[in-house]
Each structure stands twice: as structure tokens, then as C-alpha cells.
């Protein structure tokens, strides 16, 4: 079949793709920020000596990691209003993605916590720091540094998953690409450019993270 490439129609709407990309990045930043708090809490719970806390953290991780993100998103957007919680599409997607990323980050931070040498914790305790002080000013910084590469990978994963917001009509990159695709029928061009934008963003984020890792030497 005859099909010659004409990128003109896609370039004409390129600003829409770029604003979509920005929305996707913003959603990922908000979600991972909230998810980091959730993940930190759950990770400390997962390594705590109290069994109920450990079970609770385990339940959260197992529950969320085995659910499709799309189901969480649809629940947050379409089902929550049924019990009186009405969120707009941005809030419900960011909330669902935060909950989802929190489960992955729990595993990331748990591995980070286990990577903190026992001797360091013992040293902190022996100079008289309380358990809370030890966790906040000794364990957390080392753990965060060791978890940085996985944290970055999780962020890239969540940025890619922000494409699922298209399902509830959030005008992010995938949603805009689909619209351009249907409007112009420049099918191959649209998806090549959309995919290229995602890959370029991932490469840039990965490079920035690599720089961050170099600035903070590994413990």
C-alpha cells in the first residue's frame, strides 16, 4: 500500500504533544513525591520489630503490586464518587499513581534499609542517639543514597505509566497523540514522534539521575 511519510501534520500540533509531556511529568512528580512518603512509612513498618506493622506493610505492597494501575485509576475516578469522594481527573489519577508508586517504593526503601551496615546503627546508638534520631539522621541518609538508582528507575516507570491517564481523558502525551492520530490519520508519524518524546524524556531523566548519583558518593 502507498504510504509516504509527512511529518508536517504532527509538527503542526507539536506544542500539544509537548504540553502533554509536561502534564505527564508533573503527574509523575506529584505521585512519586507522595509515593515516597508512603513508601518510607511502609518500609520502616516492614522492617519494624512489631508484627502487625510488618503485616500491614506487606499487605499494602502485595495488594497494590498485583492490581493493574488502570483498575486503581478507574476506581479512584469513577467509583469513589459513589461513596461521596469526588476528585477531578487530575487528583484521582495522581492519587492512584501515588498509591501505586508507594508500593514499589516500599520495596525500594526496604532494600535500602537492609543495605545500611549494622555497625553504623550500633555506633549511632552507642554515642547516645535515640532510636528516632538514629533513624532520621543516620539510617535515612545512607538508605536514601543507596536507594537512589532504584528510586530513579521507579520514577521513570511512573512517568511512563502516566500515559494511562489518557484513559480518563487527562490531556497528557498519549491522549494528545491519539487525538492527533484520529484527526490527521498520520498514524506512523504520530506514534513515532510520541514514542520518541517518551524515550527522549526517559533518557534525559536517566542522565540527570546519573549526575545526581555522582554528586553524592555511595556510602
Amino acid at each position: 500500500m502507498e504510504y509516504s511519510l509527512h511529518f508536517g501534520a504532527v509538527w503542526a500540533s507539536f506544542d500539544r504533544l509537548l504540553s502533554g509531556l509536561a502534564i505527564g511529568l508533573a503527574l509523575a512528580v506529584v505521585a512519586v513525591a507522595i509515593g515516597t512518603v508512603l513508601g518510607l512509612l511502609a518500609a520502616f513498618a516492614a522492617v519494624s520489630p512489631y508484627r502487625p506493622l510488618r503485616s500491614l506493610a506487606g499487605l499494602y505492597v502485595a495488594l497494590i503490586r498485583n492490581l493493574p494501575l488502570l483498575v486503581l485509576v478507574l476506581l479512584a475516578y469513577f467509583a469513589l464518587p459513589q461513596i461521596g469522594i469526588a476528585l477531578d481527573k487530575y487528583q484521582s489519577f495522581a492519587g492512584a499513581l501515588a498509591l501505586y508508586s508507594g508500593a514499589y517504593l516500599t520495596e525500594v526503601f526496604r532494600a535500602g534499609l537492609l543495605s545500611v551496615p549494622k555497625g553504623v546503627i550500633e555506633a549511632a546508638r552507642s554515642i547516645g542517639l535515640t532510636r528516632l534520631q538514629t533513624n532520621v539522621s543516620v539510617v535515612a541518609p545512607i538508605m536514601l543514597r543507596n536507594a537512589l538508582p532504584s528510586l530513579g528507575n521507579t520514577f521513570i516507570g511512573m512517568f511512563k505509566d502516566s500515559s494511562i491517564a489518557a484513559a480518563i481523558a487527562v490531556p497528557e502525551l498519549t491522549f494528545e497523540a491519539r487525538k492527533i492520530n484520529v484527526d490527521t490519520f498520520r498514524v506512523i508519524e504520530t506514534w513515532t514522534v510520541a514514542s520518541g518524546l517518551y524515550i527522549a524524556a526517559c533518557v534525559v531523566i536517566a542522565a540527570l539521575l546519573r549526575g545526581l548519583e555522582r554528586r553524592f558518593p555511595k556510602f
Binding site: P68, K160, S163, Y198
Partner: protein
């Protein structure tokens, strides 16, 4: 609750069909994806750079692009290329290409983690490269790639829910259709969630018992 159970009973066959399609799509994607990933992984680990380059490009493009974009591209592009693929075929193709890249990359990691002494020993007793691969390297790599491979299966079950967006009648789309009729939004989404949870946890447990049986060397 009774009203929900009544509706669930009425909708049992469409939901069951959806579940079967979800399982079928994920199974096809993991089967073909493993075949593809096997080839990709071996090329990435052992091929000379000029042969490795296209495989690396394929893996990086697949891993840098969201699954939903792959699914939409597989849905829209074949038509202009003169191929007619139904939504189910297109979606399965996208998931297969996604799985192939991920499995290829994790197999590469496992192959490169094998101590070089293993390959040298195989060489020195006169094994050809295909023999070395089949009897020495792949069995060891398969063992250490098993946990992430099972995890890819879980990701594929989850990813198959995205096919509802292009109109494939898998579990999530069937659930949405039931919700469209009954307006029991929370109940049926939670029900679908529980079904996904049960399948994925079962898959995870199956993987764990398989790991125990194969054992680490």
C-alpha cells in the same frame, strides 16, 4: 450486597469470558515473548557489536515507550501498512513485543552473570557454541532469570487490562460493560480487582514453588 450478587450471577458468563481472554492474551504474550526474548538475550550477550546494535535498539525503544503507547501504535499502524489485525491480535502483538524486550534484557543479565570459567570449561572439552549455549549457559541463566520472568508474567496480566482501551473484551472491558448496565461501579471494579489479585498472587506463588524445586546452584 444481595443486589450485587444477583447482578454478578446474571453477568457471570461475560465476566468469565473476559477472564479467559485476559489469561489467554497474557499466556500468548509470555510464550511468544519468551521465544523472542530468548533470541534477543543471546544476541545481546554474545553477538558482535554490529549485530547487537539492532537488538539493543529494539530493547531500548520498547523499554522507553509506555505499554499503552505500544498498544495504541500496534492498533493503528498495521491498518495503514495494509495489514488487518483485530484489536485482540494487535494488543497481543504489542504485549509480546514488550515482553520480548524485557525478557531479552533480563536473560542478557543472567547470561553475563555466569562465571566465565563455565564457558571456558565447555570450550575446552570441545563443545561448539550452540552446544555450549544449550547444555551449559542457558540452563544456568534460566534458573537465575526465573523470578524476574514470573514477574514479567504478572506485569503482562496487569498490562492486558490496557487492551480494554482499544476495545478488546477482556476482563476489565467486560466489567465496564456490566457497570454500564448496573451502575454498581465500586462493587464491580473491586470485584475485578480481586480477580486480578487472585490470579497474580497465584502466579507469584507458582513461581516461588518452581524456584524452590529448581533450586539455586
Amino acid at each position: 450486597m444481595q443486589a450485587f450478587l444477583d447482578q454478578l450471577w446474571i453477568a457471570r458468563w461475560p465476566l468469565w469470558d473476559g477472564l479467559l481472554l485476559t489469561a489467554g492474551i497474557a499466556a500468548a504474550a509470555i510464550a511468544f515473548g519468551t521465544l523472542l526474548g530468548g533470541i534477543v538475550g543471546v544476541q545481546l550477550a554474545y553477538a558482535p557489536w554490529w549485530l547487537r546494535l539492532p537488538f539493543r535498539l529494539y530493547v531500548d525503544i520498547m523499554r522507553g515507550t509506555p505499554v499503552l503507547v505500544l498498544i495504541l501504535a500496534a492498533f493503528y499502524i498495521p491498518a495503514v501498512a495494509g495489514l488487518s489485525l483485530g484489536p485482540t491480535e494487535a494488543g497481543t502483538l504489542a504485549l509480546t513485543l514488550f515482553a520480548g524486550a524485557h525478557i531479552g534484557e533480563l536473560l542478557r543479565g543472567s547470561l553475563q552473570a555466569i562465571p566465565p570459567g563455565q564457558a571456558e570449561a565447555g570450550r575446552s572439552i570441545g563443545l561448539t557454541f550452540p552446544q555450549l549455549l544449550a547444555y551449559v549457559l542457558l540452563p544456568q541463566a534460566a534458573r537465575s532469570a526465573l523470578p524476574p520472568w514470573i514477574n514479567t508474567g504478572v506485569e503482562l496480566i496487569k498490562g492486558s487490562s490496557l487492551l480494554s482501551i482499544i476495545g478488546v473484551g477482556e476482563l476489565l472491558l467486560r466489567t465496564q460493560e456490566v457497570i454500564g448496565r448496573t451502575f454498581m461501579t465500586i462493587q464491580f471494579y473491586i470485584f475485578a480487582g480481586i480477580v486480578y489479585l487472585v490470579i497474580n498472587i497465584a502466579l507469584d506463588q507458582l513461581g516461588k514453588s518452581l524456584e524452590r524445586r529448581v533450586g539455586q546452584h
